[in-house]
Symmetry: C2
Subunit: 381 residues, 2 copies
């Protein structure tokens, strides 16, 4: 049994736990095919693994089944992407040897492009009404400003942030600590299904895998690495959301906190962050101003980052469906491009991340730079 | 009519508005006696004053009546202190030419010594229940840690902070924007009277003067300059409390904010400060840690800053009434020193500021350094 590099990585998502830096080193030094070969043959232990660890890995390797995983994933509407592939978000490479072996992805939009313009909103599961309100308002406000809202799909703050983004006709990504075919928590099955339809549901674990406490913690590094900054809404001391925030800080991303009453234990962790290097924000406008590049403050000065010819054809059709002047609602654009509103929204956020369009309230319009480029193309024909 | 320098300053508190930097320059360049002489004679305008301004000053100068002011102040239990006098808090000299001409003071304790170890707690008049709760808790917590709580005597946060300190048997100073004989606001007559009995009520304006909007604003520079740091509890955008905080920052004092819900307009001003250089705190312990010197973190390393022989005799009796070991309540100390509890508390906070004693909960004890010094004295007899 020999796999190509990609299939070997699929196989290894069942063997290497998320964030296993020794495994990451093996992948970097030997390549996935060689790592799989040694695990299958079992005769040449990989360097740095204790005997016990090696035994454990051999046990897990006996459960590798990449073709079946890929087939099961496909049934669940998921695909697999690996480092270096066109869909791979390059930001994750900042994790070094803790970089995911690969990602399982449900949903149509390009994770790579969405990640360019994404912000994480995370916080307590058992949040207060205040935390839920703030997270939902932030999710909606970021979506309205053309930002992709990334979170963990959990109860409380995470769910409120996802719902806020969805409710504003926005883009959102749920990063799960289990197989993307099995929504967790169960009570969020409907929400996660909706995210997969309107946005993206991603994770490191192959179909059928369950979350564990360490998987939750390690999932957080993916949220932190994927995004330009992490906003913590409510977090008690020692909350997992603080793990995400600290990972963001280590990775050079913005660490951001929404304060709350000092009388609330659920704001204590956020306040602790804010007494360090995290930046205090009160609303989505302040988040956008912080994580946005110069273009955020002076949109005229940012043009598209990609020539129109290199756009995916479906995305090109959505771009072409935008009026030369003024705003259009996502469903109008969808009609013009002959596609569904969900797909049009996904592509509009890609176009936003690439600098072709802007969102203003519920409408979308070409950026000034894109307008010039479209006019140029038209006059040239 | 010629006055001595001190009486001339008394007279000028009725002529120069608080914070008048031109007046401050005259005082520095010519001395108060000469400034009064020119105002009385009216023939030699002081430099830099427009004709209109000079006329205005001459009009006000006709109302100078220092002896009557001193007599009225005495009737109201107030005294006058000027720059350079033993009771003058040297911190106010940091205000440069905007330094008060002098201060009217009601209450027994030494303003100079209390100011050494004081923190301002200020905020919105129309505060929320949350703001009032936080201010009262901070006032009490700072008092329990041996800190003098300074505020403006206003409704809302100010009043709650004063009451918190008083309720904890602590030391508090109200800085008024009117004559110290006329409590403002009227609804705080009882509170301000209590502060004058248990602490200090001070102001720049002579007896009978009313507050005005500009006097409120300029009063804030005194609060900022007097204290080691200013804590803002609740403040809307453009609140007067932010003026105090910014003055504190300009003077190199700590600027500190207590966050609140981002959904509350009364926390918006505080959050604006916290997005700048202000430090976020959640409780009195964090304030004390911040504004305290090294002695706050390692009390053993700080000895008294003054030889015992130089203490005021009444303060010396209170020091002598403390047990060689262990804690004593303020009323026990008062009994031992043959004085009232209010007076003993006032002197205990002076001794705290000077490094002789510490407060632990409701009890007072000698610092280690003071214990050694007391033992030394005793064995030497």
């Amino acid at each position: 049994m020999t796999y190509d590099e990609r299939t070997a990585r699929v196989a290894l998502t069942r063997v290497l736990e998320p964030g296993d830096e020794l495994g990451g080193r093996w992948l970097r030094e030997f390549g996935a095919v060689e790592v799989v070969r040694r695990l299958v043959e079992g005769r040449e232990p990989l360097p740095g693994a204790s005997a016990q660890r090696w035994e454990g890995l051999l046990g897990r390797a006996s459960r590798m089944r990449p073709e079946r995983d890929l087939a099961e994933a496909e049934d669940a509407g998921a695909r697999f992407i690996c480092p270096g592939e066109p869909q791979w978000p390059a930001q994750l490479d900042d994790l070094g040897d803790a970089r995911p072996t690969g990602l399982w992805v449900r949903g149509r939009p390009s994770l790579r492009i969405w990640a360019l313009r994404s912000v994480a909103v995370v916080g307590a599961r058992a949040c207060t009404e205040y935390g839920a309100h703030v997270a939902a308002t932030l999710g909606a406000g970021l979506a309205e400003r053309g930002w992709v809202v990334v979170s963990g799909g959990a109860y409380g703050v995470d769910g409120a942030a996802h719902r806020g983004a969805l409710g504003a006709g926005g883009a959102t990504v749920a990063v799960l600590a289990c197989g993307v075919d099995r929504p967790y928590p169960r009570g969020h099955t409907e929400l996660i299904t909706r995210i997969a339809e309107q946005g993206l549901v991603i994770g490191e674990l192959p179909p059928g895998e369950h979350p564990t406490p360490s998987r939750f913690i390690l999932r957080n590094r993916v949220i932190a690495a994927l995004t330009r900054g992490t906003v913590v809404v409510e977090a008690a001391y020692r909350s997992g959301a603080l793990v995400t925030a600290r990972a963001a800080a280590r990775l050079g991303r913005f660490t951001i906190g929404v304060p709350g009453p000092v009388t609330s234990g659920l704001s204590a962790g956020v306040h602790e962050l804010l007494r360090g290097d995290a930046v205090l924000v009160s609303d989505a406008a302040e988040v956008a101003e912080l994580v946005g590049d110069i273009g955020e403050l002076a949109p005229d000065r940012r043009g598209p980052v990609l020539p129109r010819d290199l756009l995916d054809p479906g995305t090109g059709r959505v771009l072409a469906a935008l009026p030369a002047r003024g705003l259009a609602a996502a469903d109008e654009v969808a009609r013009g491009a002959g596609t569904t509103t969900d797909e049009a929204v996904g592509r509009l956020y890609e176009l936003r991340a690439l600098g072709f369009v802007e969102r203003h309230g519920d409408g979308w319009k070409l950026t000034r730079q894109a307008m010039i480029s479209v006019r140029g193309d038209r006059s040239g024909r």
